[in-house]
Symmetry: D2
Subunit: 359 residues, 4 copies
């Protein structure tokens, strides 16, 4: 990367849980100049600004008025994302938004449209798409190492913070959904979504959630998210026609394993219409080697802020652009509908993916 | 146990995968005299008979005609259970049936009714209900150690044999469902059942399956069964209002763990109608000790055949009686319906549990 | 294998802990005809004979007098091995002996000599050398996959039975030592042996033991054996100049892992005499992939009795012949000496390995 | 803690690997005012000073001349500790030293004596003694939960940096030894020490090391340290007469487990002189519950710098004072001697523990 390029100026809005991580990475980036921290809670903003050498702003309006910036990064509650983003886009700023992009597809769509109309970058901080493991998984799928994707099972459970505003689907599933959008050959494009949730504590929102996505060609993706689990599990299995992959994010010694193990079904022309007994005879099992690729070590958020800068400079959509974020929102909304309809399978409206083209 | 009691005579029908386990345990039991092995495949029957000191019969009719027996144990394909059981009950024999009891609720109901009318024992071989771990789990729930059951998550995945006749739900989920029936305070009595399955290999039946059960009082039980997983997992989490339990059946050093860890929600009268922010403030987290009870070691099938004998002698329903088996079948059938209706939640007809009273 | 070859006749001496395993495998073998079980405890002998279709003998003398046998298998306490084996060899029988071969090198040497003089097979039941994992490890080392062996660390700890006659070294370390003898390019030929033991319960013998072996070329092998550990561990690490191998015998899903990971030291001529700082600069780290080879599944004891038969028929030393067993005894004796001399390193007398040549 | 107490002023000497951790914790501490960073490498010092708001000094002499400080913290190579510490003590400063305290017992003794004579605090940064796990282990031993300590086995292996100046014993074993000194009822007071090391890479120093300590009353402590292991293990087992404890530092979900499991030996007066067979009959096994205490979460280094301040203010020895550090050095030196004498057991001179009394 050429160092003589001017650094881009960015402000971080929201100094709560996630904002400090963004601020730290912008501050450490060769691409970025962290100009300001903006938070209604002045003390919180001040503390973060002190640690990162940035100025403090109390409101987004003041921020946009007073600071010469290229971009803002939004790390506020999801229901406030759209308003802040729209203000920033109107002011001609590029926008990075913490996941989920917005709290409705409709709001997200407005954001995407506004960015598109002004030729600005709108990017979601789908952090996992910048981890060494997920990048490797995408590569393995692209190279055909797994064959066709047959099923996906993702478990993300923990004794987590019960959020005041969102349920466990909106809090945790964006991780799984954005990963699927990134690694699946066709992105996140389920034919249908079913959801089941439980609120056994009476907290007013689902704390335990299950999400089923019917993918094209009969494949099924399933996601289990849970705030109440005493054990922490973060595992993703991708079953392929050639090999099966396990990503165990809590096993630093072997995060990604590829199993040359599986069930094969020989389907031959002359077998059609045959009895199940003979069909069974055509099933065979592979019990081959296991292989765990070495993964490079780097901080995903560092890569993420670099991608934000690169997409601005190169005037191209970011890896996790608004379109990707909309596809995640569309699934979350379909899940919400399924929850209220006895887990009935819901179709997913294509959230106009063609929109995300930077002029 | 009094040794002078006459041994009961039993024959095992079916010498395939499971029959040999039953035969071995009957042969080793002080309660039972294994009289005969019956299988259409004479060679298979002969081999098993030789190992267990039993005679051989080619058909159930011949068996019932020629042998003085008190009971038969059926370990044939599920679709044949009902006919064999009905013949044996008609002949006045007590009957033990490998899970699932039958391939439809209707067939199971006929079996239960026939046994009831003749005052005979009909028992399902729900083997897991005789394991040290499950017996301990039931005890912990009964003693209130877990508090109210808030959610259940069961995973039973493996590179398993794709069965020629049944899908993964009928093959594996009876384990999970019979365990739930045994340990839950009210047995297996879900308000609704949703199911999602995938057959990514085109084998003609689901190889990957997810089952959601809405339990009374807002609790949710979820079961993941899978024949295609490269890794083997058998884990059951039972989240309670006081503590949470994890049964990891593949960790012989710590099968059952009880976590004094969880989320508490203080619901106070004056909080009603309050803002979510104040509600959130009432959530607290316990991060207490973990405790793994020592488990005795014994062979579950030995306990199971002993229970069969005891229920016959004491003229009382067995631990895993026909009623328990019917409740499992009712859920499997509801799941089947849900599969064909886009995962829509299905209600479960109470399968006449009052029937199972031995005259 | 040619089935028309006459089956060899064998008797098992000792029906305690290990004898039944040998008897079961001889009985199931196409190579062997299990003729008799011999044990002073008639009831124990009878029970085993009944299960395996063999006759019963009360003493070795009667056995050798009355039975037409080709070979005996000895599974009695170690201190009795030599007498029984010498009697059998004198009677012209081939001999298989449970580990350890004898309770002294001297006794073992007599056995080896007697077998050699009469052209009979003397073989030790070093069972682990017939497991899929150990066979694979030997193959990997032979093929140069690991490079030169730099260090070996073996841990075999458990809550085990405190033996009445032998300490933890003689009980457990023969496993580790026989494995090393089998897989190391030069066999078990340490330059020196140090041992440290503890008897914290005052049982009269070491219950916790550590064994250090200095191997040729500066390599070190270390063995930890322990009867008192609450956790069960069976792990062997073999560090090589190219790759490092981990055998975790209690992880059925990934028993053998090969790590392309390690420390490299560039030693260049012009570096000699250089400062440690520059030396350090020449150290580099490889963080490559991990690979877990698929292992076949078979019963090691089945392979072991097949090897016994093959070595008799082919008149060649068995894989785990008397010479291998003597090398194990020589290390155990050196360890015993080290224990009584403040862990001082002891040299190991070569136990005449050239002896074991079948005429 | 009273906030009106004057903050103590400290400088950190050494801005390499460990210094930044110390600096960060001093900077964040309410007890300390981090005044300066001192390193020969000005750039390194500057970078650390910038991050922590401290000034920069190029040499210790300049530091002591120009800065008003109460204490210094030394994080330089071990061979330089003594000179820097002596200079600081002469200048009347309290001293904290990264482990190991010095590179010889003799040097350490001089430091302890100098501190004592001037009534200054000399403290070793034995970080592990401030971790929640080790504090809990000490508490469990003190409360008698484990009974008498029968054996200790510690494994600390990793693919670690081969150090240019010290071998693996001096690099890693101070962790294990300082933990033992802290948790054992009588501190680290072995009767003898044996060591075995290997340098399979020809790096000029041991990269694989085993250390055996004979503790009073027949107990044995063993330490395995290794820079070349492809897998990372940090496990400590403490076998007690009542229970056994396992600390698995890499299992965040269950770091400390207490097993009510073990071997009991009934030693009765009338048993003395009895045969081993009857002795064996008196051995019994407990297979009780496992218990994993919840551990608080805090940063150990924060506690450590707080203890440094408290010991200065209260004019009392620190938890990990010079005496503790000397006991660690004495074992390391005995190990060095054992290495050069064929692993022969070496006695450990008591390193004048009575010295460490603050006037």
């Amino acid at each position: 990367m050429l160092r003589h390029v001017r650094k881009l100026k960015v402000a971080v809005v929201g100094a709560g849980y996630w904002g400090p991580n963004l601020a730290r990475n912008f501050a450490a980036s060769p691409d970025w100049d962290l100009v300001a921290i903006c938070d209604r809670d002045d003390e919180r903003a001040r503390a973060l600004a002190d640690r990162t050498g940035a100025a403090v702003e109390h409101s987004v309006d003041e921020l946009l008025d007073r600071r010469q910036i290229d971009a803002i990064a939004i790390a506020t509650p999801a229901r406030t994302h759209a308003d802040i983003a729209m203000a920033a886009l109107s002011a001609g700023k590029h926008v990075l938004v913490e996941k989920p992009l917005a709290d409705t597809v409709e709001a997200g769509r407005r954001m995407v449209r506004a960015a598109q109309q002004r030729g600005l970058i709108l990017m979601a901080d789908h952090t996992y798409c910048y981890t060494p493991a997920v990048v490797k998984i995408k590569e393995l799928i692209e190279n055909g190492e797994l064959g066709d994707v047959l099923y996906v099972d993702s478990v993300r459970i923990n004794l987590g913070l019960v959020q005041p505003d969102v349920d466990v689907f909106w809090d945790l599933a964006p991780h799984d959904l954005s990963i699927l959008d990134f690694v699946l050959p066709d992105g996140l494009a389920p034919d249908g979504v079913t959801a089941q949730g439980a609120d056994p504590l009476g907290s007013g929102r689902s704390c335990v959630g299950y999400l089923g996505l019917t993918l094209p060609a009969g494949a099924l993706a399933h996601v289990h998210v849970n705030w109440l689990s005493p054990t922490k599990i973060r595992q993703l299995v991708i079953g392929g026609s050639r090999r099966t992959l396990l990503w165990d994010d809590l096993n630093p010694q072997q995060r990604v394993s590829v199993f040359d193990r599986g069930v094969d079904l020989q389907r031959q022309a002359d077998m059609l219409g045959d009895s199940s007994r003979r069909k069974a005879a055509q099933i065979s099992y592979r019990l081959g080697d296991t292989w765990a690729p070495a993964l490079p070590e780097y901080e995903p958020l560092g890569r993420m802020v670099a991608e934000f800068a690169a997409s601005i400079r190169e005037q191209r959509p970011a890896r996790t652009d608004g379109g990707a974020a909309l596809r995640v929102l569309a699934v979350l909304e379909a899940a919400q509908r399924s929850l209220t309809q006895g887990s009935r399978c819901q179709s997913v409206t294509r959230p106009e993916p063609s929109l995300e083209v930077v002029g």
